[in-house]
Symmetry: C2
Subunit: 210 residues, 2 copies
């Protein structure tokens, strides 16, 4: 087998993964369409169960749609804060957990649970693999965006059914993630949750043998 990619590329790929962050602080200047389009090419190259390609994207642009999504986040975030107390509550209250007020590009990414593509192959005993396919596509986009210097933030502090309703999507679509995309205010090797004292990365991977 040819070593098609080589050691320098492999090393850069790991660097890319090291520099990838969940970004919540964006500059508001626009992102050229060509850059987003390149990220979407990466998105579509993801594997999908049975080649079902169940991903559907709503690009959230109007002030009305953005307002509904932001209210959704603020409500869910207030409820989440109420679930913590003591030091945890104090740290949580200070966290910035979404860039929805600033990010120039915002994508609500759904999984179509009912589309016929793929004819159900690979999803009979594990139907959740359709949603997983969409997560893989988001991961591709995330890496491609970082390679462009763009930041991506995945917002999950949302009522997914309300968001689907507010964006008026078909009944069979399930929200996978709400992505904020734009030029980041800063770049860092350290996750913001670690800087803020919420949680740290593990030193070791949990693995056992059978």
């Amino acid at each position: 087998m040819v070593d098609r990619f080589g050691p320098a590329f492999r090393s850069d790929l790991i660097e890319l993964m090291r520099w990838r962050r969940d970004v919540r602080r964006f500059r508001t200047d626009p992102v050229e369409a060509a850059v987003i389009d390149r990220c979407l090419v990466a998105f579509c190259l993801a594997p999908s169960v049975g080649l079902s390609e169940p991903w559907r994207i709503i690009r959230v642009e109007t002030a009305n749609a953005r307002g509904l999504c932001l209210t959704n986040f603020r409500t869910a975030n207030a409820a989440a804060l109420a679930g913590y107390d003591g030091d945890r509550a104090k740290i949580y209250a200070d966290l910035k957990l979404s860039g929805m007020t600033d990010a120039p590009v915002q994508l609500a990414v759904f999984c179509d649970e009912a589309g016929p593509k793929g004819a159900g192959l690979g999803a009979a005993t594990m139907p959740e693999t359709r949603a997983y396919s969409v997560v893989g596509a988001i991961t591709h986009l995330w890496l491609a965006a970082r390679a462009e210097g763009l930041g991506v933030g995945w917002v999950s502090i949302l009522d997914p059914d309300l968001l689907a309703h507010d964006l008026d999507v078909p009944q069979d679509w399930r929200l996978i993630g709400y992505l904020c995309i734009g030029w980041p205010e800063a770049e860092s090797l350290v996750p913001e949750l670690e800087t803020a004292g919420w949680e740290t990365r593990s030193a070791n991977l949990w693995m056992e043998r059978r």
Copy 2:
């Protein structure tokens, strides 16, 4: 912002994604530990909701454990075949849908639904984001493996509860995917399901604006 990665790397990254395949045909020669370790570094650099890092890996090595997993696959695959008829059934019967008899490295990847890490941040309204974090990690590993020339095949035609039982993992672990890893017999730009006439890639991404 510095262009840390540059256009040549970005172009290679897209090439990597184009050449990534779901591989089911492996050579049986072993993979050096150092190569697998580099892929696991990529795995651990994935984002996780609240920095929960809920991934747990069982490396399936003994003949007994592999036999149980293979029987699980064969049973689920026979049941899946029985759900198709006509041309679909004929194509399905001829598909090779797992490399479990040959792949030298086999990983059962789980999500620990109950681990305390991350303190639930980001997962209150969408608890499935813990599983999604594991999918992101698998996607990282998949790309890193392909960059090494390794093939990865994600097997989902399995009874996940039976597999968890057979591998004797804790109650709170949910199977995300069973990965076959090894040197592929061949490399291709075309998904095997497309070559076999099961399904084709879409020409366009579904996106609407709101």
